[in-house]
């Protein structure tokens, strides 16, 4: 029957000729192929000395951003926690006191901000939800650890380093 795509290949199975049955030419061919690979540059990246480049839109570790004056942007509105499908984010809000204006941009801030990195699926919905542009998934991947409790990252690990005045 005529095939509809015209891409049907008819394979012939001829009996092997003498050279093919003698195996040795085929083995020599195989040896030549492996020898070509012997001189190829290895593709290995020796982690951790060398690191593979992340792609530009890689979503890694979260960072809580500061504004141009070095104040924390987060206002503890909870939208990130609400949007999080894995329920990885929790926070406790606090009111900004007098004299803390240089630390927090808004009148309310997150006193505690925790992300459970074992729950997080790095979907990026928190950064989409954030109205203050305070959270971005722009870090490297999460490092390994021994205890589950050490995967709950607090503000000490999440907040960006303060600006150097």
């Amino acid at each position: 029957m005529e095939s509809l795509t015209n891409r049907k290949k008819v394979l012939e199975s001829k009996p092997l000729n003498f050279l093919e049955r003698a195996y040795l030419p085929a083995i020599a061919q195989g040896l030549a192929i492996t020898m070509k690979h012997f001189f190829k540059k290895p593709v290995t990246i020796s982690y951790p000395e060398e690191k593979r480049e992340y792609s530009e839109n890689f979503r890694g570790l979260h960072s809580l951003k500061r504004d141009e004056n070095g104040k924390e942007r987060c206002t503890a509105c909870g939208l990130c926690a609400l949007s999080c499908p894995a329920e990885a984010i929790t926070m406790i809000a606090a009111e900004r006191q007098k004299g803390e204006e240089h630390l927090y941009r808004e009148e309310k801030y997150a006193a505690v901000y925790e992300i459970n990195m074992l729950r997080c699926i790095f979907c990026g919905l928190c950064e989409e939800a954030c109205p203050k542009e305070a959270i971005y998934l722009d870090g490297p991947h999460v490092e390994s650890d021994y205890l589950r409790k050490d995967f709950i990252y607090g503000k000490d690990k999440l907040v960006e380093a303060p600006l150097n005045q």
């Binding site: 040795l24 083995i27 195989g30 492996t34 020898m35 690979h37 190829k40 540059k41 593709v43």
Partner: protein, 342 residues
């Protein structure tokens, strides 16, 4: 034979023993490194510079692992198996001529432990003893996979020994001697046996692959079918002995091939070099050349291992009995006619 000769022989034995152990050790490293290069990888590179200390780390691991003897195994035979395997692997090197006679400080001595006039037969005897190590180990393990592996090893070695022996007969017809030293001398100055016996050499190398249980004939330890083959139940240094024996066998068979077919310690321009470097250094250069040939063969063993897939068991037997043996016999006949008429 004076005391000095005995001391020299003992020193030579110890040196050859150490060299074969070190080469076997570093063959494991070379195997992994070469495998990596063939697969566009880097290979072991953590223990020492370029992973040079990897064999020591492996050896240390082997020694420190728990020694397990299965409840239903026969303890004596279980230990005898690997011991026999490594013993037979080591004694094969006794008859190989490593170089010409060296003169040093007024003494002359041969770089060969013993020049018995049936050298090749001795090697054949040792090689066929080697299968007992595998057979006893597989039997004593009281495990069906071990037993199947051992049976495969035994039948494979017996089948391929025949064609190996037949391919050697044609060589003996050309050289007219069984002594390895004389065969090596016979090839002096471009009379390498591989030029007179190309078919014999191909037969021999195929059989050598089978005898050392290397790919494509590594059915005795075929992981996909038989777990680990004859050494399934082995752990610790007893396993190490089996693996070690395989590499020593590879070294010895490389040395035998280099000696029988590729001129041994002979190399082009040898007489000129000998005349210019004196009777001490000159023969040692020949030894170095022999080792270069041996390393090339070991490399070839590994190269083939990382190229060719394993034979099916019936294909293995077909190749041994229906192809190699008739070819070897034809080779003998052609050689005989050639000697008679030319």
């Amino acid at each position: 034979m004076g005391l000095a000769d005995i001391v020299i022989k003992l020193v030579l034995i110890v040196i050859i023993f150490l060299i074969s152990l070190v080469i076997a050790m570093y063959s494991t490293y070379a195997e992994r490194k070469i495998a990596a290069f063939f697969q566009d990888r880097i290979g072991p590179n953590r223990a020492g510079p370029w992973g040079i200390l990897q064999p020591l780390a492996d050896g240390g691991k082997m020694f420190l692992k728990e020694e397990i003897i299965p409840t239903n195994a026969s303890p004596f035979l279980f230990i005898a198996g690997p011991s026999l395997a490594i013993l037979t692997a080591c004694i094969g090197s006794a008859v190989i001529p490593w170089g010409q006679t060296v003169t040093m400080g007024g003494h002359t001595f041969d770089l060969q432990v013993t020049d018995i006039n049936v050298g090749i037969l001795y090697i054949f005897g040792v090689v066929s003893l080697g299968v007992y190590g595998v057979m006893i180990g597989g039997w004593a393990s009281n495990n069906k996979y071990s037993l199947l592996g051992a049976i495969r090893a035994a039948s494979q070695n017996i089948s391929y020994e025949i064609s190996m022996g037949l391919s050697i007969i044609a060589l003996l017809m050309v050289t007219g001697t069984l002594s390895l030293k004389e065969i090596a001398e016979h090839q002096h100055g471009w009379h390498w046996n591989v030029l007179y016996q190309p078919v014999g050499f191909i037969l021999f190398i195929v059989c050598a692959f089978a005898e050392t249980n290397r790919t494509p004939f590594d059915l005795p330890e075929c992981e996909t079918e038989l777990v680990g083959g004859y050494h399934t139940e082995y752990s610790s240094m007893k396993l190490g002995f089996y693996l070690f024996a395989e590499y020593i066998n590879m070294f010895i068979s490389s040395a035998v091939m280099a000696t029988l077919y590729w001129g041994g310690y002979n190399y082009p321009g040898m007489d000129w070099v000998l005349a210019h470097t004196g009777p001490t250094i000159g023969p040692l250069i020949g030894t170095a050349v022999l080792f270069a040939k041996i390393f090339l063969f070991i490399f070839f063993f590994m190269w083939v291992r990382w190229t060719i897939p394993r034979f099916r068991y019936d294909q293995l037997m077909d190749l041994g009995w229906k192809v190699l043996i008739p070819l070897a016999i034809a080779n003998i006949i052609v050689t005989g006619l050639w000697i008679t008429f030319f």
